[in-house]
Structure formats: C-alpha cells, structure tokens
Symmetry: C2
Subunit: 211 residues, 2 copies
C-alpha cells in the first residue's frame, strides 16, 4: 500500500502526533514504539522509516514546538514600540494559560516540556529552552527597570524568576491538583496580582487605578 508523497508526509505527522499524545498521557519511558505506531494507524516499520529511535521522535516533537506567547514576547522585545513591558508579560502570560487550558495539544507539549527526569535524553534540551525563555523575559524586565516602572526591591533577575515561577508553577500546580481550578481564571488573577506587585508604587494618594 504505497502512498503518494503527500500521504507519506501525512503518516510522518500522524506518528509525531501519536507520540506526542502518548508521551504525555502515559509518559515517555512507558510508551512503546508499537503503541505509537498503532496509535498513528501504522506499524513500527513506518516509524523506523522516519525516525531513528524514540529519542529522535522526541527531539522532532521539540523542534516543531514554538510557543505563540514566546513569539509575542520576542516581537515585543524586538519592537521599538513603547509598550508597557510588565503589561506585555501579564497579557501574554494570561493568553498562554488560556491557550493551554483550551487546546489539549499545547497542554501535552508543555507537559512534556516541563516533565521528565533529570539527566535523561531531553534534559539538556529542556535546560537550554528554559534558559532561552529566561533571557527573553529578562530583557523585558530590564526594559521595565530602565523605564523606571519596576519596583525597587527586586532586581530584574529576581522579577524574571518570579514571572517564570508563576507561569510554570501554575501549570504544574494545575496538573498536580487534577485540574481542580480554572487555569485561565486563577492564572489571570494571580498574574495581575504579581504584575502589580512588581510595579513600582507611585507616591501616596491615588492607588489601584490602572491606566
């Protein structure tokens, strides 16, 4: 049953999708290549045609993952527009959480991203990806400091860690609680709270009013 070029590319994607789903539902180590192939409606022969082994398909999953929120922040970093950095982080973070809650695909990807044991195949990849996000957020926080809107009692580095802790921590807590709360609702509220706590308080008098 030989397929055409287009169909062939489709089976490759099917395998990628299947692996993505199984990796997050049953875990990477517990997922067998046979399961991936059957989930993709193919056999292990097809798998080995496209991928070297399990870690190969894993890195393929990683590579096609580009978080939309990261793009948003990247453009905000690159852009000359005088956007409020703290508000950009708050909004993109909130959007990201909403997307995660509504789109299962993104859930799986991020779950694979933050899960896994230390020093396995993917640990180095995760570390570098994490560092990349850190540097991006840090540039935003530094910009916030330069614009004089970052609170004095936190360095940009600390504020960045606080932001990452909030996002990733929320997702982790959401999973550990068995989705017991609304990720987007609670997340938005806590992100707003964090954002305002990171913001330098103006002098006495007016307080709490947003722009």
């Amino acid at each position: 049953m030989r397929r055409s070029k287009a169909d062939a590319e489709q089976t490759r994607l099917n395998i990628l999708d299947a692996a993505e789903r199984l990796f997050c539902t049953r875990g990477i180590a517990q997922t067998t290549l046979e399961q991936i192939a059957r989930e993709a409606g193919a056999t292990r022969g097809a798998f080995y045609w496209y991928f070297k082994d399990k870690s190969d398909v894993l890195s393929a999953i990683y590579q096609r993952y580009k978080s939309p929120q990261l793009c948003r922040i990247e453009t905000a970093v690159a852009g000359e527009l005088p956007e409020d950095p703290l508000e950009v982080l708050e909004v993109t973070g909130s959007e990201f959480l909403q997307m995660l809650e509504t789109e299962p695909v993104q859930q799986r990807l991020h779950l694979i991203l933050i899960s896994g044991t230390p020093n396995d195949d993917a640990a180095k990849w995760r570390e570098s990806k994490n560092a990349e996000i850190y540097r991006l957020l840090l540039r935003m926080m530094e910009r916030a400091r330069d614009e004089g809107i970052l609170s004095d009692d936190l360095t940009p580095e600390e504020a960045t860690i606080a932001q990452m802790v909030m996002i990733n921590g929320l997702i982790g807590e959401w999973y550990r609680s068995g989705q017991a709360f609304s990720l987007h609702e609670t997340g938005t509220k806590l992100l707003r709270h964090l954002s305002s706590s990171l913001r330098k308080k103006p002098a006495e008098g007016a307080e709490g009013t947003r722009t």
Copy 2:
C-alpha cells in the same frame, strides 16, 4: 550469610536509601532492581525479601517522608497562639527552601515528589499529598483573612495557590536552571515579596499599627 536482626534492618534501609538516590538521579522508570540492589551492596534476592516490587519500595520511600516544614505549619494551624499566619508561611517556606538547598536527601525526596509522569503508580499518591498540603495552607490563609490581614483582592484559595506556586515553582525553576541561582537567597526574597503583596495594605495616612 544470615544476619542478625539489627543487620537485617540495616540492609532494608540500605535498599531504601539506594532506591531513593537512583530514583532521582536516573529516574524511577530508568532504574532497575539490579541497580538498586548493587547500590545497596546486596542482590535482587534481598530486594524481593523486603519489597514486593518497584512500586512497593516507592511507596515505602514516600511513607518515611514527612516534610519538616509541614510539621511546622501543622503545629501552627493547631496552635491557639496568635502567630501572624502570613509570616509563619513566609518563614517556614524560607526554611524549607534552605533545607532543600543544603540537604541532598531532601532534594531527592522532593524531586521524586514533584516529578514523574501523570497517571503512573505514584500519581494518585502525589495528588493526595499535594491536596493535603493545600488544605493545610488554606487553613492558614483563611485564618489570615479572618484576622483581616489578607489582601482584599485575593480569596484565601487564590492566595494558597499563589503560595504553593511560589514554593514548588521555585524548586522546579531551580532544577530546570541547573541550580543557576541560590534557592534560599532568591526564594527568601521572593517569598517576602509575595507575603507582603498578600498582606492587606493599611489605610491611608495615620493608623495601621501592627499588633
């Protein structure tokens, strides 16, 4: 080589320690019973004498784990002493992070605790343990609200999630960054920041003295 009662109990502990170490360094699924036995200076025969299988030793590891910070909070919850709830949470959290950074044993335990894939053997255990911690913290936050020191714009539930997100998120970020920052120093600072942001701001001008 029959051992005496005391020696026998020691081998059991050796196996437990060995499993604990290997589970966090190489991951649970990637650790074989043979490795555990050899690390403990014994054979798989000894393992099967004391434990049913891998999940059995895992639950044994869980059972002998009682976080000191939890005890501290428990006594604070039970106690009638009018301690400042937010300060108790801040201090115990800070202490916990310090202990984690200095004592590798606690590191491993907590790493095993928050790692692992969803719906594996230990997932239910982790969920229930997490819920237990949540309820404890929630009682503290409710007490804070009742005493009128919790900020109005967050419910006790949200404040609890914020606290858990901060602690667990910090640890996760610490690991993902490859211990790139000081867990205790940064953690203490961010915990203090969070604590003060959770605290209700006193009214304008005069008044606002603490008890």
